[in-house]
């Protein structure tokens, strides 16, 4: 039963291997990509059901008992993130069928996409801090290649920044793991959680800061986000949607994991700092977005801004706020991937995504305009869409924390609501410029209309994601319940430790 845990890692690996066997042939690769992604999605949901009913599941790879071997653990947070990666995987696999040109396919786009999913799933599942580093690298190498595939000049220029900053982040992460191992002599996260309180405070703070910087670069928080807006608009839309939906989320997930399980001794300092970072991330991101005049760059800056909300949930550090943060992660991935996919269709319709050269798209394609509006309003947090519930949960949690006498809660609520308003302004800008205003003189001659098959392939994933966003907005209760359970598990780390290391009397001997 427990071997189900390993499947989200194994299935993309097998899919990628099979694709490599059919390296020169397009049709088998596309079919396999689609089938593999759908299987991943199904397994993720089965796993979520299993974890919800039976509590945290763990499996020791190779039969080596924890803390000596590598442990694969799934709690509700991991399972939810796997469902997310499944959903985004299916949507991108479908969209890629129309979006990816021959050159990119020949150089292995489809296998790389599966490898990327494998790295992401592995990072969500592992219970070992060094293994987390390895999954980060798997994911990174796949993302490097996906980013430069196609050899366009601007891709290269964005990729150098992305590569350098991510390699520095990896070096910091690895140093932190090394120092952590040197001071605690453990790598298993549950084992670390037990042993870390014996380490002197200054050492713990140092380690916490190293991890904060390493994951902060991946998650694109305030002073460390510069790689994101410069690389997200260069590759094909499928890749951008995949990156926006999953890559920064892996950084945010790792922060949630590490700062609820390991570094919880000095909450005032570490989580206070996280909250300040969250505030700056929100404000700087949204201000950056306002200055941009290209759809994908606006969206990329909003990605930065929205990461601030997720991290704010962690910074407030209560069960309700962490639940809100997780809800926000899920909501944002769906919405942002969807917006990027829509920007790809705009590109197909008008030949550009420069707002100055766009106009009157509402007459060109009213359906697309409607789909954009749903996602854009959800991103801004208007009821009754998914973003509203995510922000409501965070604001409520902020009031609870503020009510206990720390004014940080109130300040961050004020900041987040103001940023929400700016998000709305910026979404209205895209709406006005791209969809509403008359076609400007500078507009490019429209490219030939899409074939029907292409249109179906591009619109289906957008419909799929929009349906999920609306469903989450109209019926948020099941998911709110789930994220609350997930936050409960995160805040009561005893459950996690027991699931990995076994009952205390068993592990006493080892």
């Amino acid at each position: 039963m427990n071997s189900l845990l390993i499947l989200p890692i194994v299935i993309p690996m097998i899919t990628a291997a099979l694709m490599l066997l059919a390296y020169r042939r397009a049709m088998p690769q596309r079919l396999m990509g689609l089938i593999g992604s759908v299987i991943q999605l199904i397994i993720a949901f089965v796993l979520l059901g299993l974890v919800y009913q039976n509590g945290i599941q763990a499996i020791q790879i190779g039969g080596w008992q924890a803390p000596f071997g590598i442990t694969i653990v799934a709690d509700i947070l991991s399972a939810l993130m796997l469902c997310l990666s499944g959903v985004i995987g299916v949507a991108s696999a479908l969209y890629s069928l129309a979006d990816i040109d021959r050159e990119r396919r020949v150089y292995g786009f489809y296998p790389l996409m599966q490898i990327l999913l494998m790295g992401v799933n592995g990072a969500f599942l592992t219970g070992d801090i060094f293994n987390l580093y390895v999954w980060f690298e798997v994911m990174l190498i796949a993302s490097f290649v996906l980013l430069v595939l196609g050899n366009e000049r601007r891709q290269m220029e964005g990729a150098i920044k992305y590569l350098t900053l991510n390699l520095i982040s990896s070096a910091i992460f690895l140093s932190a793991v090394g120092i952590l191992y040197g001071s605690v002599h453990a790598l298993n996260m549950a084992d670390l959680a037990q042993k870390l309180p014996t380490v002197p405070q200054p050492m713990i703070i140092t380690l916490a800061m190293l991890f904060l910087v390493a994951f902060g670069i991946k998650a694109a928080v305030f002073p460390l986000f510069f790689w994101l807006p410069d690389s997200y608009h260069t590759p094909p839309t499928t890749v951008t949607a995949l990156f926006a939906g999953l890559l920064t989320k892996v950084g945010v997930y790792s922060m949630f994991r590490v700062f609820t399980l390991l570094f919880v001794e000095n909450v005032d300092y570490t989580h206070g700092l996280i909250m300040i970072i969250a505030g700056f991330t929100m404000v700087i991101g949204v201000l950056g977005a306002m200055a941009q005049m290209e759809i994908r760059r606006v969206l990329a800056f909003h990605s930065v801004s929205q990461v601030g909300y997720m991290v704010m949930g962690l910074g407030l550090f209560s069960i309700a706020s962490i639940a809100g943060g997780i809800f926000f992660v899920l909501h944002h991935s769906l919405v942002k991937s969807n917006l990027f996919l829509i920007s790809g269709i705009v590109q197909q319709h008008a030949g550009t995504t420069e707002l100055k050269k766009l106009g009157n798209q509402i007459a060109r394609d009213p359906l697309l305009a409607a789909l954009f509006l749903v996602s854009a309003l959800s991103l801004a947090g208007l009821p009754p869409l998914s973003g509203f519930w995510a922000k409501l949960a965070l604001v409520q949690a902020g009031f609870e924390v503020g009510g206990t006498g720390s004014y940080g809660g109130y300040i961050i609520i004020g900041v987040s609501l103001a940023v929400g308003l700016c998000t709305l302004i910026s979404m209205t800008k895209i709406w006005n410029e791209a969809f509403w205003k008359p076609l400007p003189d500078t507009a490019l001659p429209p490219p030939p209309p899409m074939t029907l098959a292409r249109k179906v392939l591009m619109f289906t994933p957008v419909f799929f994601l929009t349906a999920l966003i609306v469903a989450l907005g109209l019926m948020p209760d099941p998911l709110l319940h789930l994220v609350n359970e997930a936050a409960n598990q995160l805040m009561n780390k005893g459950q996690y430790i027991r699931a990995v290391l076994g009952e205390p009397h068993e592990s006493a001997g080892s």
């Binding site: 490097f144 150098i160 520095i168 040197g182």
Partner: protein
């Protein structure tokens, strides 16, 4: 020995970061590789330096006595070396392609991607 290693790691980090901050793309690659070497040595040092005591169980015994060199940090470094080799290979190819496409190795000649 610990002090010496600490200085070596510090020098590697400092030179690595200095190289990354230079304008030449080639120096960027050198910087990244120095940084990963520094990290490997850091893991090695942080795991504890033990001279002349390999982590092998002597013949006829079932357990090993302290002190012995920690095999875990060695295993971590081995994994990290393999990964950094792969990443380095990729970055060399990427930078070569950048050089071919743009025809310069000066980072300042790269356009800001938004222009």
């Amino acid at each position: 020995m610990n002090l010496l290693m600490a200085i070596v790691v510090g020098v590697l980090y400092a030179t690595g970061l200095f190289m990354i901050l230079r304008r030449s793309i080639v120096k960027l690659v050198f910087g990244l590789s120095l940084l990963s070497h520094g990290t490997n040595l850091l893991i090695f040092t942080a795991g504890g330096l033990t001279r002349g005591r390999p982590s092998l169980i002597p013949e006829g015994q079932l357990t090993i006595e302290q002190p012995y060199a920690d095999p875990i940090s060695q295993a971590l470094i081995l994994t990290a070396i393999v990964i950094s080799f792969a990443v380095l290979a990729f970055s060399v190819v990427l930078l070569y392609r950048v050089y071919q496409t743009i025809g310069t190795e000066d980072m300042d000649k790269l356009r800001a991607p938004d222009s």
